[in-house]
Structures are given as C-alpha cells and as structure tokens.
Symmetry: C2
Subunit: 373 residues, 2 copies
C-alpha cells in the first residue's frame, strides 16, 4: 500500500476502514469484500465486531486495521455520534477521505464546522469529508442482518459540502458504485429537505396513525384492510434509531409538521362547521401529491390498473398465479396481498399497464382464477 | 313470486332491487346474478343504468323492476343521499327489507329517526331497515369497474339498530353470504368508531402526507422509496366520495383528529426543545399500534421476516421467482415491489414466516438470485 501520496487516490488503493459494524456498515464491508477490495471493520461493541468478522470470514483480531493507512473511512455509527466519529477519523487518518452513511447531512456538517471554529478540529481536514446516504435499509438492524447485496440497484445520495475536494467526492462515488448502488449528487441542505418530505415526515405520520390503533378493541382492528396496513407499515421501525433521525433533521421536519398542524386545524374546523368544500380541498391536495411520486425507474408516472385475484392460502398458489401471468407476457408492476381476516384465502392485487388489464383478467378467468379488473 | 306474506321472507324469494348502479351496487347485482337470484338495478343516471344492464346481459328496459315486489332493496348510492333513498325505499316497497352499503352507519340512521319524528317517515317502517357495509372497493368507481367476485372472502359488516327485526337482519346476512362475503355483526356506533380508526383517519393522514409532496421538486421526489409509497397510496382515492364519507363520520373523526393534533403539538414542542425522550414516546406508541393490527386471517400476529431479492424488470422474472419460492414449499405472506428510480430492475421483498427466512434466502442464492434476509 503506497497510497495517496504518490498519485491521486482511488478506492482500489484500499484498505477501506468501516467504523460501526451495524446493518449498513457490515453490509458495506461485505459488498466491498465481494469486489475484492480490502476492508477492515471496527466497532466499540466487541460482539458486533466479532459478528461482522465472522460474516467476512475473518478471525476477529485480524479484522481491525493493522499497518496500512486507509484510503477511505466509512462512518456507519448511530446518528447522534456521527460528528464526533467523523472528526476523530479525519484526525486519526490524515491521508484518508472520510464519509458517513447517516440519514441526515446538515447536522453533522454543522457540528464539524463548529468544532473547527472552536479549534477542536482542523479546518484543513474538512475538504477530505464528503457526506453520503445509501437509500437502503431494513426493519432489522445489526450485523447479523447484513448482506453484500443490500445496496444493489439502490440510490446512494452523495452530498458534497462547500469545500469538499473533487477527488474526495470521486472516491465516495466509487464507494457507492462498488457497493452496487447508483450515485446521485445533492447539496446537504437539499438532501435533508428531500428526506424530510419523502421519508421522515411519512414515518412520523405512520407512527401517529398507528398510535391511534394501540388501544383499539380487537373487534375494531378486525375491520383492518390493506389501506391501514400500508399506511402504518413503516411505523414498526426501530424507535431509538428514528428518534435520532427525527431529532437530527428537526428544522426541516418542524416546518413540514407545522404545515400538517395547520391542515389538521383546518380539517377540524371544517368538520365542525360541516364545510365539505374545505375537507375536499385537503383530499384533492393529497390525490395530487400521490400522483406526483415518480413512476418506476424515475420515468413519468405510468398508468397502471389493478387486477384482483382470489387465491387459496397455501404454498405454491401465488407461484402458480405469477407463472400464468408471466406466461401471458404481462409485466407485473406492483403486487399487494390483502390479508383477509376471516377466510383461509387471500386477495391479491396485481398492478399492470392499463392496456393489459382487461385482457389479463379475462385470460386468468379463462384459466379458472377468480380474477377481475 | 308469492313472497313474504305467506311465510318468513328469504333472499330466495327474490327479486332483489339494487338502487344505485355504481361499483358496489352493480357488483352486488352481478354477484347475486351469478347465484341465480333475480335482481333488478335502477339508477338516476341513465348511462350508469345502461352500463349495469349490459354487464348483467340485459336489455335496459328489462332491467328496472316490473311487477313483482322486491323482498330486499339494497341502497348503494353516494353517502350524502343514503337517508333519503332508504326512506323512499321503505315507503315505496312496504313489504321489503331495506339495507344500504354506506361506509358510515350512524348518520343515515339518525336522519331516518329524525324524519320519523317529523312525520315524514313512518316509525313502523324502521324495523325493516338494517344497515350494512361490505369491506371491499377499488380506487376505480362506476359500473364498468364492477365484478361478480368483488366481495369474495371479504368481511361484510351487518349493523342492526335497536328496532331492526331479526328476520330483516337474517335477510341482510344472507345477502352478504350470497355475495361471497363473511357477515360480521356490529352495533352502528361501534362500526363507525371502528372505521374511523382503521379506515377514515388513515385516509386523512395519507392525504395530509401526500399533500406535503404536491409541490416538491422532482429531485426530492426521486428519493422516494417504498415507505412513502405505502403511506400515501390510498390518498389517490376519489376526493368527492371521501369528502362525503369523512363528513358523515365527522364526530368520530373529530375525536381522533383532535388526538392527532395534540400529538403533533407534542412533537413540535419536543423537537423545538430537543426533547428526544418525548419524540421517542410517539414513535413507541406507533410501533405498538402497528403491532396491534391482527395477522392474516384474524389470528394472532405472525412473526414474519422479509427476504429481499433483486429481479430484472421483464415479463416472467417475478413469475420465475415465485415459482422457485413455491417449489421450496415456503408460503408467501406478503410481497412488496420497490420501484427503483435509477435502474431497470426491481427490489422485491417477500414476507415469510421467521423460521423460513434464512433457508429461503440461502436456497434462492444457491439458485442464482441476489437474495438476502
């Protein structure tokens, strides 16, 4: 390892050091390992470090960094710790580019800048830091849940700050690519506004909706359909992790939540006054927002129609259905399974291109399925 | 048709008259037709009536009721019209049981009682009315979207009021059964509280969340993942229909929305104060609520784990995956397709019983799939 002194650094000049052996950190190590890139992992928790080592097929003492200096340090620790760990990495590895994989980018950047002003970090180190955020995860956490292909095909936001060095940005982009992801550049403030809207606010709204179900009688919960299940699914995520994310993106979220409060007030007074027009305005805004979410693969929203099929609840039934749909040459754009509360079969909704809907339903019916558009 | 005068009425003593040829009304007609039960459909909109007639394979003039009096009238008109149409049906068909299929049960009942007090309806008619609510629908509407099997396996709430005649309740239950649904009895006020929690509040929360996306820049929307898609999906429903539903269930919704506003206020002041503990309490309540929704088929929540698979975006790929999962003897409990914004393949999450997860992921990997737990 001669490294970055002689020529522009590249990821191939590894080793890469991953700090934090959780789901994301260990998955990054596995993804790089898969590409033959030398990677080391450290964690303050010796159990996490040992599990990560075993996932990488190593003996634990061999896992921590030996003599070679890393070309890249990836900080994958909990949100509240990011600034301190990034700062330590910049200090301890003066030749390395440093990135993190946190869900919020402005907060750690502001803390780094403040540390530099206080003199507890060197301003000259900051160009070596470039934030990033892989858009991948799981409701599970920890190194046992890690996987080399966690990032395959996912978007990985790269968020250079004002003084990030272009060569450092390039190395972090090559990290995303090496992990199988697609790198997309965004300014840190823009990133935080974006995830507040498309991730953090939806999480809080799901939690508020699900919270209203907590003490509901079973007879009420028994009327639950696919709608409420969809709205509340992400509320099952780790409350400690999400508390840190929400807190770190507090400014952007307060603005959005303030707007939600104004709309809730508007709804409450409209309902109280029996003013249907104002209620409808909120519903129309929601329909417009739902339509604004881009279609598959970032293209324009595709006109899809649902085809509904009743299927027996046994292994293989769904496989048989999908085989027949595939044999008809129809591409399935989305699938929902409605958990019927009373019977031992399920209702499956398959979204297909509008032009294929009637024909698919007809062909499935001809094949003996209870299917309809 | 000798009818109900000689012996206790039953659905087999048809004809059944459906008032309102929308999605639900026409689907009920098709479902009864499928069982060989004589059914007639009327609608104030001659186009809807004609479409319903053609779906039933009839010449339009033949569709309206001829001479025989109906044993059952099913009112399937928009929420705002229910009380007036139920009242007219009770008056015009003095031998018939009358039900409706509206999403809210107390409001029309109160309007009927008020009409009886005013003398514009006969109190003696009310025992022939029994409300009901099939838990089925679609983001589409109108008779073209109708299907004979729309109710197969669905729950159908039957909501007798204090003076509903037992024989009338029995006929409405047999309507649900004849349509392929599972009848469940609930008091009208209990039903309205239940659907406020598990359907109407989630709809409003989805609309509020989606409304925040309406004017978001495309670069922000491009970071949308499966979470925000799930939370906002139902916000695409018909705003006019939902305005009427929300308005009719105003009391129950105001109580729940008031609780939401208190929680939003709490979140806003907690974020402003940097009080992470209070933010976490809201998130914990949400996780508890999400866990309270019953598992498939009304049983206790089943411990499921997601297995994630990357698949190419072409017809047949999903079919091949499901065939292989089926061949492994693993039952798929739920499926989500993550619409990757940047690449021409999708990420599929398959929920399976916890005990099957690792083995399934391993077997799929051995079969060449990029799969992980």
């Amino acid at each position: 390892m001669t490294g970055s002194a002689q020529r522009p650094a590249a990821l191939a000049d590894a080793p890469v050091l991953v700090v934090g052996a959780g789901l994301i950190g260990t998955s990054i190590a596995l993804a790089l390992n898969r590409r033959g890139i030398e990677v080391h992992v450290e964690d303050v928790d010796p159990v996490h470090a040992a599990v990560a080592a075993s996932r990488l097929g190593r003996i634990p003492p061999d896992l921590a960094l030996a003599t070679a200096e890393p070309v890249l340090v990836v900080v994958a620790t909990p949100p509240d710790t990011l600034a301190a760990v990034i700062s330590a990495a910049l200090r301890d590895h003066p030749g390395a580019v440093v990135t993190d994989v946190g869900s919020v980018k402005l907060r750690p950047l502001a803390e780094l800048a403040a540390a530099a002003e206080r003199g507890s970090a060197r301003p000259a180190d900051l160009p070596r830091y470039v934030g990033s955020h892989p858009m991948a995860g799981s409701e599970r956490s920890g190194p046992l849940a890690s996987a080399a292909d966690l990032f395959d095909g996912r978007t990985w936001a790269i968020t250079p700050h004002g003084t990030s060095a272009p060569a450092a940005v390039s190395i972090v982009e090559s990290l995303a690519t090496a992990c199988g992801a697609v790198a997309v550049q965004l300014a840190p403030d823009d990133h935080d506004l974006a995830v507040a809207r498309v991730s953090h606010l939806p999480h809080l709204m799901a939690a508020l909706t699900a919270g209203a179900l907590r003490d509901a009688p079973p007879a009420h919960l028994a009327l639950s359909g696919q709608g409420v299940r969809d709205v509340t699914r992400i509320a099952a995520g780790d409350p400690v992790l999400w508390r840190q994310i929400v807190n770190a993106n507090s400014d952007a979220l307060q603005a959005l939540l303030g707007e939600v409060r104004r709309n809730v007030d508007e709804l409450l007074s409209s309902l109280d006054a029996g003013d249907a027009g104002r209620v409808e305005a909120v519903l129309l805004a929601g329909a417009a927002g739902a339509a604004a979410i881009p279609g598959k693969h970032g293209g324009p929203p595709v006109q899809l129609v649902p085809v509904t099929v009743a299927i027996p609840d046994r292994p293989g039934a769904l496989a048989q259905l999908f085989s027949e749909v595939g044999a008809l040459g129809v591409n399935i754009e989305d699938v929902r399974i409605d958990h019927d509360p009373a019977r031992a079969y399920g209702i499956v909704e398959i979204d297909v291109a509008a032009a294929s809907g009637e024909q698919l339903a007809g062909s499935l019916r001809a094949g003996g399925w209870a299917a309809h558009r």
